[in-house]
Symmetry: C2
């Protein structure tokens, strides 16, 4: 266990150092760089680039090879948070305890900082030391997972579903795109960085889908428990949110998290002890309290 | 001349047909596709994808090969217009005589339609039937020209320069990024689609930079002349805009357009008659009235 924790902190430090070095050039559009870095370096678990490095290592690559790809996924994740927080979207003033991007830099610059991070993600992939075929596969994977039938599509479905009760199928369609797709991209790009084979891609895809679902359901549970704690009530539910908790209740959701985590771990069975880190990562997400 | 006009309409029809076929899948996030198509198919000169096809042909490629790349540039151009028109940016209600995207679909969907088009541009490049090295070069070219030190950077510089008088150097820094960079991407990606050589890349870059500058100065002139005509005044000037007209006046600007057009044409001298279309295109932009 201790070893996995150390590896996690190595992966987190790798990506923090890598991102720190981005957008540091002295250019006239300084304000844009400040705004991009403000959100990109605002912390967070760095789950996605950790997954990218871990899958690269699982498939026999050096985790450092995967850093430009992991950074690209994190840039996409960051831009989506900046745009999500805008007044015309969720209208949030704070994120991770800090004022949101548009609160500090204004709405116009927040829109452009998001656009800049989204665009740069694809430039960043081309900086990876990989065969051209690998770069192309990574670009396509990230664009598909982040785009109109991936993350952006999920946002639109989520908006459209507000104020009405969705079926399980609909909630899954929203969540698999809105949060699942980018976790999928992160895992697949790790395999791509290592030049992995079809079987490894399939295993990574299954692990990602199960982990993404477990992660989302766990988030829903924490939201409700957190709200309940804050409000001093026995249960809290947000009637406007289409969550698994609203569909099934907390107890069944806890079972679902455990089931999905087991399936994620099973997908890595063929890799034996070399999958230890990814197994322990999946387990730690079941138990996380924030 | 007639032949060049016919070729222009072939190139325009090629890209219109290609774009028509995009985002037609039946998916739950239908509203997103409608919003993306609303702006993507709203007409316009299609200058950028015409340039991509023409440079591909100049370098011995089939213009159709370049269509995914031309479409990608047009998607980037379209997203930038959608985000530009938002209330927090230029706050425009109409574009090309039609209500702007957010006026029809709401601000949240307009932000997401822009994000979707921007992301899909990179997926689209990977669909080109090119060697992997060509795809990588195209992704890098487009991302660099559209990103934080290209178009997005130019927007930020332009915003920062509002309400104050810029030097020529500053106006050039803004315009070369804000409109020049994407025209450059369009021309270079045509050469890339044809598998062109270094000399062809250099010629395309010079042509693009001169054409982009001529195009922008001509735009500035038309703005002023248009405003003057509308207002019934002899001259019109927008004191809040950093344009070449404000720096030099209309007469000098007309000379500059002619100079830049000549330089654009000179860059293609080594290609003789096969550059006829691109030469005629540059000349037609000098004389355009809209």
């Amino acid at each position: 266990m201790m070893e996995n924790k150390e590896l996690l902190s190595v992966y987190v430090r790798n990506i923090e150092d890598y991102l720190q070095a981005c957008f540091t050039e002295e250019l006239p559009q300084k304000a844009l760089y400040e705004s991009m870095r403000y959100s990109l370096l605002a912390g967070g678990k760095r789950l996605r680039p950790v997954l990218t490095q871990a899958f690269c290592a699982l498939c026999g690559g050096a985790p450092e090879t995967a850093l430009p790809l992991g950074a690209a996924v994190e840039m996409i994740h960051t831009y989506s948070l900046i745009h999500d927080d805008l007044p015309c979207m969720d209208d949030d003033d704070f994120r991770r305890g800090k004022p949101t991007n548009h609160k500090v830099f204004g709405e116009a610059l927040a829109v452009l900082a998001g656009d800049g991070l989204l665009t740069h993600a694809f430039a960043r992939i081309t900086m990876a030391k990989l065969p051209a075929e690998g770069v192309v596969a990574a670009v396509r994977t990230l664009a598909d997972c982040a785009g109109e039938d991936g993350m952006v599509g999920g946002q639109v479905l989520d908006m459209a579903a507000e104020e009405r009760q969705c079926t399980e199928e609909e909630v899954r369609a929203i969540q698999s795109r809105k949060t699942g797709a980018l976790i999928r991209a992160a895992c697949l790009m790790g395999v791509i960085a290592a030049g992995g084979d079809e079987a490894q891609m399939t295993a990574a895809g299954t692990y990602a889908d199960c982990l993404g679902l477990a992660f989302q359901i766990r988030d829903d549970i924490l939201d409700v428990v957190g709200d309940a704690a804050l409000l001093g009530k026995a249960t809290g539910t947000d009637a406007h949110k289409n969550t698994f908790v609203r569909l099934y209740g907390i107890e069944r959701c806890k079972e679902m998290v455990a089931e999905q985590t087991r399936s994620a771990i099973e997908a890595l069975a063929p890799y034996g002890a070399s999958a230890d880190f990814l197994i322990s990562l999946a387990q730690s997400l079941v138990d996380r309290e924030m």
